[in-house]
């Protein structure tokens, strides 16, 4: 394979419908830190990330000039229908995370479930984006595969 010099996943955009509300959700409820919050005039560059980890999420407002009005409306529709992609997070105490988020009234799509690879549950951000939170167990990939095959 050609060495293309890519070293890491740096930023992943998540479509949001209100950046202030997104900022509150991802920082207050999920514990993210603000990496950048810059008014560029033409856009608000707003990135957040998990403390101690380099990858950031761009909380990108739907409706920029790259989309015409009809396309922006379609994207907003897809977000609010829950039809666009999500974010996968890891927790070192998934039950505590679940308890804190449910106490805060966050929308839960699935309660914690034991899986061969660990325990995970699902929530939605205020706009409809899916967020999955998992606590891996100590099983190796091979052990996880065996657990599925021998279930």
């Amino acid at each position: 394979m050609t060495n293309n010099h890519i070293t890491s996943l740096h930023i992943r955009a998540v479509p949001v419908l209100d950046q202030d509300e997104a900022l509150d959700f991802y920082t207050t409820h999920l514990g993210f830190e603000v990496r950048d919050d810059i008014d560029l005039g033409f856009m608000r560059w707003l990135t957040v990330g998990v403390p101690g980890q380099d990858t950031s999420i761009l909380l990108e407002l739907v409706g920029g000039p790259q989309h015409d009005e009809a396309t922006a409306a379609q994207v907003r529709e897809l977000v609010t229908k829950g039809a666009l992609g999500g974010v996968f997070l890891l927790s070192d105490d998934v039950h505590a995370t679940y308890a804190a988020l449910t106490a805060a009234g966050v929308e839960v799509t699935q309660e914690p479930v034991e899986q061969p690879y660990g325990t995970d549950f699902g929530i939605r951000d205020p706009f409809g984006n899916h967020v999955r939170i998992s606590q891996p167990n100590a099983a190796s990939p091979a052990e996880v595969k065996d657990a599925y095959e021998n279930a």
């Binding site: 419908l17 209100d18 509300e21 409306a73 907003r76 529709e77 609010t80 229908k81 829950g82 996968f88 929308e107 839960v108 799509t109 699935q110 309660e111 479930v113 899986q115 061969p116 690879y117 995970d120 699902g122 939605r124 205020p126 706009f127 409809g128 899916h130 999955r132 998992s134 990939p141 996880v144 595969k145 657990a147 599925y148 095959e149 279930a151």
Partner: protein
């Protein structure tokens, strides 16, 4: 957050659909789902179909069959138990619904498919069968 009326309806219907996903093994409770969506029970089915392209009943059937497919693939549990656990009142209804949607009987499906080791939410969304009807 400013949502258009249509976006607001979508968001409320998504909450109701998430509730269906969580309680897939329970009988379809239209009044409860309608309350989550802030609609009347008589409006709920029509609006759900406008947003998601199928009736709540059809969606729930596909959700149940998707779950049954996972259990058939990942476990060796008796098919009768899987039928009950996924909300079907009888093995006959389960088998006929499964065969109609998937194209194979539960037994045939189990024989053809091995377990897969990826996160369960992806298995759920990517193996949910389309309804041929």
């Amino acid at each position: 957050m400013e949502l258009s009326r249509r976006e607001d309806v979508n968001r409320r219907m998504l909450r109701a659909r998430d509730e269906m996903d969580r309680r897939y093994a329970e009988p379809l409770d239209i009044p409860t789902l309608a309350a989550i969506a802030h609609l009347s029970a008589s409006q709920f089915g029509r609006v759900f179909k406008q947003v998601y392209g199928e009736t709540p009943h059809r969606y729930l059937q596909r959700r149940r069959i998707e779950r049954a497919m996972t259990l058939l693939r990942q476990t060796d549990r008796p098919i009768t138990d899987i039928a009950w656990d996924t909300g079907f009142a009888s093995l006959g209804t389960f088998s006929s619904t499964f065969s109609r949607i998937v194209g194979h009987s539960p037994t045939e499906f189990r024989a053809r498919h091995a377990p897969v080791a990826v996160p369960s939410c992806f298995i759920a969304t990517w193996t949910r069968p389309r309804d041929p009807a």
